[in-house]
């Protein structure tokens, strides 16, 4: 049975230009090397040296944010090929990549992740996304499909992919030189799937992945997102900056898992955190101020308006946003509710909101000494709000190294994080069950 781990699960978001927007403007950043190998390799190897469970690539399939000069999470590293390369440069760490269910075929997705899992001996995870923010214009569509349709399609997509992974039994490969039978073809089964969106005969033309199924990650906070997560995901990434809301979210996910007939704790929940840490609180605050000064406030205001749907014209940076400006803005996502709460209930100034948005995207920002930041993380972990965290490096390499070289060892010293790799698959290291072979 799966159970809550005694130690945290920690992964790192591979944001090669830093999680805080514009943090690449720091003199020590390696922004000249973005999209090249050495930067990505060094980050993954640093995370492996810190014994993190995995590194994680987001993705996008359009250039809209780059055009807006926001290179935080732009898809500069296409995940399948990038994870392939990192398999060759790492030994133990898990490698997780996003792939949208909106623009590709399940047979291709099943093959690419099966290939990665085979090559890595079971270190790969797939973050299932439905392309919330766009990309349709590059795939022959006039608009993004409705969220409900996207999630229905995603649900069917994942079902097809997992059936394809299961189309070979674990004992299909005989490797019998004497008879000349490499595979027992009787154990390779067509899936004959015919659904609303896909018709796939199967079987897959590759062996069952070492993990059975690569670890399934998902990150949706809407009702259809939580339903998909509860039914299918092994790990959930989530944006939570408020304890009460985080508790509610965790309850919803556990309920959703239970409704799907799974143990309540079958799904590992990893909120994103942005730790801006240093040996002392004063140093951390200094680093935070320095990072904030890289934010282009004009562009930041535009991005904040785009994300929240709120008109800030006429407001000074030190003003509060009047509550009525949120009325009528298009609040279709859970992030919008967070943005409203911060502006209206927590009375943050426009400047603070712009900085907060540039740096968190709804994730929790923790500025402080190593002890203070660790305390905050441990509090949530001990309370059962999360099973660990997805660490967002505030800047690269400086903010990332503070996080990996100071914070993680401190968590290890206090017994909350692994000091060695267990040597098994990613699934095993996260305390997840291996799906049984048919």
């Amino acid at each position: 049975m799966s159970s809550r781990p005694e130690k945290m699960i920690l992964t790192m978001f591979m944001l090669t230009s830093g999680f805080q927007i514009d943090s690449w403007r720091a003199p020590g950043s390696r922004s000249e090397e973005l999209a090249r190998l050495p930067l990505m390799r060094d980050m993954a190897q640093a995370a492996e040296a810190a014994k993190l469970h995995a590194v994680f690539f987001g993705d996008s399939v359009d250039v809209v944010t780059i055009r807006d000069n926001n290179i935080r999470n732009t898809g500069l590293y296409e995940p399948i090929s990038s994870i392939g390369a990192l398999i060759g440069y790492t030994k133990n760490i898990g490698l997780v990549g996003s792939l949208s269910t909106s623009f590709t075929e399940p047979y291709n997705a099943a093959r690419q992740f099966a290939g990665l899992d085979l090559l890595s001996d079971g270190r790969v995870g797939w973050n299932i996304v439905t392309s919330l923010f766009g990309g349709f214009q590059n795939y022959g569509l006039d608009a993004m499909p409705d969220p409900k349709d996207r999630y229905r399609k995603a649900t069917e997509f994942v079902k097809v992919v997992t059936e394809l992974w299961d189309s070979w039994t674990d004992d299909t490969i005989l490797n019998d030189r004497a008879s000349g039978q490499w595979a027992d073809v009787e154990k390779i089964h067509d899936i004959n799937h015919a659904g609303e969106f896909f018709k796939v005969a199967g079987a897959l033309n590759m062996p069952r992945p070492p993990q059975g199924h690569p670890v399934l990650f998902q990150a949706g906070q809407s009702d259809p997102g939580v339903k998909l997560g509860g039914e299918t995901a092994d790990v959930i990434y989530t944006a939570q900056s408020n304890r009460e809301e985080a508790e509610n979210f965790t309850r919803r996910v556990r309920d959703s898992a239970a409704q799907a007939g799974r143990p309540r704790d079958a799904v590992k929940i990893l909120p994103g955190v942005v730790p801006i840490v240093a040996a002392t609180r004063a140093e951390a605050e200094e680093m935070s101020r320095e990072l904030a000064c890289y934010i282009d406030m004009e562009a930041g205001r535009r991005r904040y308006e785009n994300a929240s749907g709120v008109d800030t014209s006429g407001l000074e940076l030190d003003d509060l946003i009047p509550a009525e400006r949120f009325e009528g803005s298009r609040g279709n996502s859970s992030r919008w509710a967070i943005m409203r709460r911060m502006a209206v209930d927590e009375k943050m100034t426009l400047r603070e909101l712009i900085i907060g948005f540039a740096r968190s995207g709804g994730h929790r920002i923790l500025v402080g000494s190593v002890e203070e930041v660790a305390d905050e993380m441990i509090t949530w972990f001990e309370a059962g709000i999360s099973d660990g965290f997805n660490l967002d490096p505030p800047s690269v390499p400086e903010g990332m190294h503070a996080m990996l070289d100071l914070l993680v060892p401190h968590l290890q010293e206090r017994g909350y994080f692994q000091t060695e790799y267990s040597g098994g698959t990613l699934r095993e290291s996260m305390g997840l069950e291996r799906p049984a072979s048919r």
């Binding site: 000069n69 296409e78 090929s81 047979y107 291709n108 690419q112 795939y139 000349g180 033309n205």
Partner: protein, 431 residues
């Protein structure tokens, strides 16, 4: 005869060996197939031999495996695998297949652009149209070849435009102004065609080679038309020297007629060399490999490949000619083997299909095989070869450690890597 430069040599990456059932050899690494170590070792062996590239084929269904064809072309998914090999190697080119029939150009452009950037410009894309696999992609049957090739032509047009959508100097990393990429140097493509509507631009910087190397195979009229328009390397099946010379001459004329330099398109026939230090050693290896061929799965391969019923035939029989009916969906390979089957027994056809699949195979000493390859090269029947390893690692090592050095000693193959990208090393167009 005017002197020529040096050959282009690549290796077909088949972890089970090119001859069907060769994995049954005691020294094969069949237990490891699917994992990284053995293909990394194969690629490193090819890199030690200074080969220009290794090449992964692909297919969109499991039918060959289910039919007992254990060449295993599908076990290594090419994009994932090229990524891993980019990390394990320094100089050798890495060519992978992606189908234009079952993918989207934006996805393929992104994957190959990233591979090219991560590998420092060592990536090639083998552009194929799938002739099987429909039922894994929601189709009842495959589109007609003409339709598939029209889609392929438009597909490559779109990927080229996407790779060109970032200027070489688009990344300015201007910390002062807070501008990482200059938006004026990244352009939409606004493509609208018969099959694809793609706005662009790509969200990945221009590939290290400008465009990854384009490889194509296919000897139908539609295939030649596509290849001569867009490809840098052509994989081809040629079993006869004179016909290969004629094909080569015609092909280069087609290339020039399209306003391209004939020398910018490299024609590489496949060949499987079974090499031994002596003729006797080579023959022994050949006999040993032949002993692994399974007649039952060989029969299934014949049935599938030739689309005929042979249940009632003995291996000493010939397939009655009336059972093999030509038609517009037949591949070149089908006609090659139809002709072969008219003059050989079923058993001979099974061995031939296990070994050749339309390509030549030779048994001999390094000197004898090298002389033959040089005759083809100097006679302008080809620009080099795609080497099919008869078995892995035995037959492959003999090929790389005996035959390739022989070609190097005779001045027909590079002794060191020069240039910085695969395109430079191959001597094809630079972007």
């Amino acid at each position: 005869m005017e002197p020529r430069g040096q050959m282009v040599l690549t290796m077909f990456m088949l972890a089970f060996g090119y001859q069907n059932d060769a994995w049954r050899a005691p020294d094969s690494r069949a237990e490891e197939v699917g994992g990284l170590d053995m293909i990394a070792d194969m690629t490193l062996a090819a890199e030690r031999a200074k080969l220009h590239a290794v090449f992964f084929a692909d297919s969109a269904d499991g039918n060959p495996l289910l039919g007992g064809d254990n060449r295993g072309v599908t076990i290594y998914e090419p994009v994932a695998t090229l990524g891993a090999l980019a990390a394990k190697t320094r100089h050798i080119g890495l060519i992978g297949t992606a189908s234009t029939t079952f993918s989207e150009p934006y996805t393929v452009a992104r994957q190959f652009a990233t591979l090219d950037n991560l590998s420092g410009g060592r990536i090639g894309w083998n552009v194929v149209t799938s002739f099987t696999g429909a039922r894994n992609y929601g189709l009842e049957e495959m589109p007609e070849p003409a339709a598939r090739y029209r889609r392929a032509g438009e597909f490559v047009d779109v990927t080229n435009q996407l790779w060109d959508s970032w200027d070489r100097d688009a990344i300015i990393a201007d910390r002062e102004r807070g501008l990482w990429a200059d938006p004026d140097r990244i352009r939409r493509i606004n493509h609208r065609g018969e099959h694809f509507t793609v706005e662009g631009p790509l969200n990945i910087p221009r590939p290290a080679q400008g465009r990854p190397l384009i490889v194509q195979a296919g000897q139908s009229e539609a295939g030649i038309s596509l290849g001569s328009s867009v490809a840098d390397v052509i994989y081809t099946m040629q079993s006869d020297l004179e016909r290969s010379k004629a094909f080569y001459r015609d092909y280069k004329e087609r290339v020039e007629a399209k306003g391209r330099l004939a020398d910018h398109v490299k024609l590489l026939p496949g060949i499987m060399p079974i090499v031994g230090r002596t003729q006797q050693e080579a023959q022994e290896l050949s006999d040993e490999l032949a002993s692994y061929i399974r007649i039952d799965s060989g029969r299934r391969t014949v049935e599938k490949m030739m689309d005929v019923k042979i249940d009632d035939l003995e291996v000493t029989d010939r397939i009655p000619p009336e059972r093999m009916v030509d038609g517009p969906t037949r591949m070149d390979r089908w006609r090659v083997y139809r002709d072969y089957a008219l003059e050989h027994t079923l058993g001979e056809l099974i061995t031939e299909l296990s070994r050749a699949m339309g390509h030549r195979w030779m048994v001999g000493t390094p000197g004898a095989i090298a002389e033959n390859l040089i005759e083809w090269f100097d006679g302008r029947a080809c620009d080099g070869f795609n080497l099919n390893p008869p078995s892995v690692p035995g037959g492959m090592n003999a090929m790389l450690e005996l035959l390739v050095p022989e070609l190097q000693e005779r001045g027909y193959f590079q002794q060191e890597y020069t240039g910085s990208t695969l395109r430079e090393r191959m001597g094809v167009q630079q972007f």
